[in-house]
């Protein structure tokens, strides 16, 4: 089962991870690779090509494909170029905007957006704010600070109610558990979870006691969440066992917070004000405690969930998967690795940028998505995704897709905006983004995890009257740039621009034959070629 590639890799890594006495001296990425290798059940795919790496890392850190110049420069660059590229991208303003987009989708799940929320997220990543601090700011939003108050949108969007539907507090409770602690307690609302022994009804109810008093404030224009005074515990009864219980706010596995009994009229730190409609600020605020407890050092669930989600966003599969089902019967694929990442993340001040950099430096991240020849060599056994033996394809988000289509086609107006996060906030760009989201994003509350192309998206690319013009010679700067080139140069430029790599000989030949079949339609046919590559699976995936 150990073939040559495997031996070579072992030979390279063995001295490092066996001789080195102090584990902590070795960079994290090396230890990641060693732990993946140690559990590997077969060959690992080769290291990805430079072009493969550049496209992957640019999509991950800048949220777009690389420009033609970036590809050409990178391919021509010398040694150490991968680490230099990672560092340059991490230092770019595009990084913060990309992280904002990633975490916006993770935390809001296409429920909606708000400019103050988006700018809160972007600033957090621009400053590389420690992740626990960011989450505290979300869970207990501070309205006094204008740059932070948008964080309340996490709550306010979920506290809106539509028509006669009541606010969905159970869903809110569920989201806090799923998104920050990695536990989906939904099925433990009415009874202990049927299949997960460690998910108890009391856990759901304890978590719900942190949020049951929240409401949407309407006295101010910005997103703001209010809390009503809490005077009692939550009562609940199992629909199966009929056993009743009561609980104050309590995190799963944690200590119950005592609900103070306050004299009527003395519940408020800042009393309500009828004139301004300010609803008051109670002395006892469960959100304040929630924010502290969720991010407390001893709350390893918090760090474990964070690193698992960051790992997933770069590797395509969570070490614990599904991402929100952390429990003993759903163990991580690589338990030591998850523990290592969790510990190191906490030990490095919950520095997201640092963790991303380390993961990207690993061979695991840089592995090829191609499993060439393996069928012949090892009987066609497909490596399980959870082995990370081959890079896992990941879907492009609507945000990544628009930016990439704009760059690939050279649509004249949007391509002026696409490289600058500030310009992407312009109306022209955001309007187009809305259309792409409608065509390609999941519906609200449906986490964007796997690649799920739709007929709707296909028809949008095939027939949307606006997008079709982006491939017309009169509008596409890519087409007008390519048309005058020789067939061979044209093929190279086409593939560099759209797929961020050089074509192989077959592909060059196809381009040449296709163009020569109808020379008088050269410009139109170049448009067809650009379209076909934009509509390909290779373009739609981060591979």
């Amino acid at each position: 089962m150990f073939r040559h590639g495997m031996f070579l890799l072992m030979a390279c890594l063995w001295p490092v991870w066996s001789v080195c006495a102090a584990e902590g001296d070795r960079p994290l990425w090396e230890r990641v690779d060693a732990l993946i290798l140690a559990k590997s059940d077969g060959e690992l795919a080769a290291r990805g090509t430079d072009a493969e790496f550049l496209r992957r890392v640019t999509l991950d850190l800048a949220g777009r494909i690389p420009t033609t110049d970036e590809v050409r420069d990178f391919l021509a660059d010398a040694a150490d170029k991968r680490v230099r590229k990672i560092d340059r991208l991490l230092a770019s303003p595009e990084y913060a905007a990309r992280m904002r987009d990633v975490w916006h989708v993770v935390l809001m799940e296409r429920l909606g957006d708000h400019p103050e929320w988006l700018s809160f997220l972007e600033q957090a990543f621009r400053e590389n704010r420690p992740w626990d601090q960011t989450v505290r700011q979300i869970l207990d939003p501070q309205e006094s600070d204008e740059s932070l108050r948008g964080a309340a949108f996490f709550w306010t969007k979920r506290l809106e109610n539509y028509g006669q539907n009541p606010v969905d507090y159970p869903a809110l409770t569920r989201d806090v558990g799923r998104l920050f602690l990695g536990v989906d307690l939904q099925c433990a609302q009415c009874h202990d979870h049927l299949f997960v022994d460690t998910y108890h009804q009391a856990d759901f109810q304890g978590l719900s006691a942190f949020v049951a008093q929240t409401f949407l404030r309407t006295d101010v224009k910005y997103p703001a969440v209010g809390e009503k005074p809490v005077g009692s515990k939550i009562e609940f009864t199992s629909v199966f066992t009929k056993v009743s219980g009561s609980t104050g706010p309590r995190l799963p596995g944690g200590m119950e917070v005592e609900v103070p009994s306050l004299v009527k009229g003395e519940e408020f730190e800042v009393p309500p004000d009828k004139a301004t409609k300010f609803p008051g600020r109670p002395k006892f605020r469960p959100l304040e405690i929630l924010a502290k407890q969720v991010t407390a050092n001893e709350q390893t669930n918090f760090d474990r969930n964070a690193v698992n989600r960051i790992w997933f966003s770069l590797m395509g599969r969570g070490l614990v998967h599904p991402l929100d089902l952390h429990h003993p019967d759903n163990p991580p694929s690589h338990p030591e690795l998850l523990e290592l990442l969790t510990k190191e993340f906490a030990g490095h001040g919950r520095d997201v940028r640092w963790l991303i950099r380390e993961l990207m430096l690993s061979e695991t991240y840089q592995r090829s998505g191609r499993w060439a020849g393996a069928r012949v060599q090892s009987g066609g056994k497909v490596p399980a995704e959870s082995s990370y033996r081959v890079a896992i394809e990941r879907p492009l988000s609507s945000e990544q897709l628009l930016a990439s289509v704009v760059l690939a086609t050279g649509e004249p107006e949007l391509s002026l905006l696409v490289l600058s996060p500030r310009d992407k906030e312009s109306k022209a760009y955001t309007q187009e983004l809305e259309r792409f989201r409608k065509a390609f994003s999941n519906i609200a509350r449906d986490p964007e995890i796997e690649f799920r192309p739709s007929v709707k998206g296909a028809l949008f690319l095939m027939h949307d009257a606006e997008v079709l013009t982006w491939f017309q010679p009169s509008r596409s700067q890519t087409v007008s740039r390519l048309v005058p080139l020789s067939d061979e140069q044209l093929a190279d430029e086409l593939y560099l621009t759209v797929l961020s790599r050089l074509p192989d000989d077959d592909e060059r030949k196809t381009v040449q034959e296709f163009l020569q079949a109808e020379p008088e339609q050269r410009a139109v046919r170049v448009g067809h070629l650009v379209w076909s590559l934009v509509a390909s699976a290779e373009f739609a995936l981060n591979h």
Binding site: A372, V382, E385, A458, A537
Partner: protein, 463 residues
């Protein structure tokens, strides 16, 4: 076939129903309830089960530059040539068996409507369905259904997935199962379409572990999907050239890679193209006014008529949904208003399929997620009742003019052999020429039965 279903106890009162409605959990989604501990047990099983339960699918083959790369079912391949089709009429919310297939006149819970004679001697239906009564000699009605879930959120998927034994995976809806086992057929149109009120789109979740490409393409309000129309700036020839190049690019990309995602991408473009080629199906101006009059100009009538046109075009599985049958309040006025529209469209469909000689190849199934309670509640309504209810079938493989099973005098329980949805899945597969005992799904190496292991077909309704 197992003996009497363990959960199907004769009850006269409503205690059990009440107990069950208490146990309803408004937040539990069926997917989560289908998860068992089993999937986490055992090293090998866990990875597979964990991904597939979410419909992620696992690559079932690798393309090595051949470009063919299409995953094929390990079993059931030979079935794809068969020309059998399915019309699946889904009455969402729960049609009352008392006000339709199993009237109980002059009984405690019978309600105000009278029974009428039908074209099948000795068989009566509710007076709210006179046209269907005239088609009764072509139908097979089972009056002895006893199923398990009395909430919509769990009952709908349980019925539509055939409630197989829990193996830690999410089973496909019947439409997705047929799409997988029988393929799109020679029409090359999407194998599973769903005509429904409200929004349309691609419903991946229906496919369960089979993977997104076996999901339903839903025509919301019977309308074609957005952007089906090709703008004038793009000629048909140009679109064809583009698509050929796209396909070539995908074949090349596949070399040495897992195929799942590329196949999914190709599948949606292919479906879009084949649908585009038949876009006249959505052109209501081509519909005969006499047909509109017969089926009814109302929503369900329009959707059933579109369904017939889809069947004529050769679509493998057509699901037509009617919403609004959850008559907890004012059940009788509700059914008095709903049933005639159903009756008109359903009877016209049976008549047309017969007249066009399509009965031999189209299996017609009409059911809900459950029936409605015998007890009439304080709001003159009937509540959810999976204990004893009915469904109707017709067409391919089904014996015409037969009533199977019976409920007791008051309609409170099944008095003959009770059948669960598992029995019906076996029956439907059999009617389509699929041996549900021999045929299995291949879920990335895990063989899975296509219908509940402990059930078998309802022999009395099979031709």
């Amino acid at each position: 076939m197992s003996g009497r279903l363990s959960w199907c106890r004769p009850v006269d009162g409503q205690e059990q129903e009440i107990a069950m409605s208490m146990s309803r959990s408004p937040m539990c989604t069926p997917q989560e309830h289908l998860w068992s501990r089993r999937q986490w047990l055992g090293k090998a099983g866990s990875a597979v089960a964990a991904t597939t339960a979410l419909g992620l699918g696992v690559a079932d083959s690798i393309g090595v530059g051949t470009g063919s790369g299409l995953a094929t079912a390990a079993f059931g391949e030979e079935l794809k040539g068969l020309d059998k089709q399915v019309l699946f009429v889904w009455i969402d919310g729960g049609m009352s068996q008392f006000e339709s297939w199993d009237p109980k006149p002059n009984s405690q819970f019978g309600g105000p409507f009278r029974p009428i004679s039908t074209s099948l001697p000795g068989v009566q239906l509710c007076e709210l369905m006179p046209q269907t009564a005239r088609q009764m000699h072509r139908l097979a009605v089972v009056r002895s259904l006893c199923t398990q879930d009395n909430s919509h959120s769990a009952g709908v998927p349980r019925i539509l997935r055939g409630d197989p034994k829990n193996r830690g995976v999410t089973y496909p809806y019947f439409g997705s199962a047929v799409a997988k086992l029988m393929g799109p057929g020679s029409s090359n149109l999407p194998p599973y379409v769903w005509i429904k009120p409200g929004s349309g789109g691609f419903k991946h979740e229906n496919a369960g572990f089979l993977g997104p490409k076996y999901g339903a393409l839903a025509f919301g309000d019977g309308l074609p999907p957005e952007n089906l129309q090709r703008p004038e700036m793009l000629t048909e020839d140009a679109a064809g050239l583009r698509d050929e190049l796209r396909q070539l690019a995908n074949r090349r990309y596949l070399a040495g890679r897992m195929t799942t995602n590329t196949e999914a991408s190709s599948a949606v473009f292919d479906m879009a193209s084949s649908l585009l080629a038949r876009k006249e199906l959505f052109d209501t101006s081509l519909v005969d006014q006499r047909d509109i009059d017969r089926y009814g100009a109302h929503e369900f009538g329009r959707h059933m008529l579109l369904g017939r046109r889809m069947l004529e075009a050769g679509i493998r599985f057509v699901q037509v949904t009617s919403y609004g049958w959850d008559t907890h309040g004012d059940n009788f006025n509700g059914h008095a208003s709903l049933m005639p529209r159903f009756d008109q469209a359903f009877a016209s469909m049976i008549e047309d399929l017969h007249d066009r000689g399509m009965m031999d190849r189209v299996l017609v199934v009409c059911l809900s997620e459950f029936g409605r309670t015998p007890r009439i509640n304080g709001q003159s309504g009937r509540d959810h009742w999976p204990e004893s209810w009915s469904l109707a079938m017709s067409g391919a493989g089904i014996k015409p003019g037969v009533v199977v099973g019976a409920t007791n005098e008051k309609g409170t329980s099944v008095s003959t052999e009770p059948y669960d949805i598992g029995h019906l899945f076996h029956t439907w597969f059999k009617a389509l020429g699929i041996d549900s005992r021999q045929t299995e799904y291949d879920n990335a190496g895990q063989p899975l039965p296509i219908a509940h292991d402990d059930c078998g077909p309802v022999a009395d309704v099979l031709a």
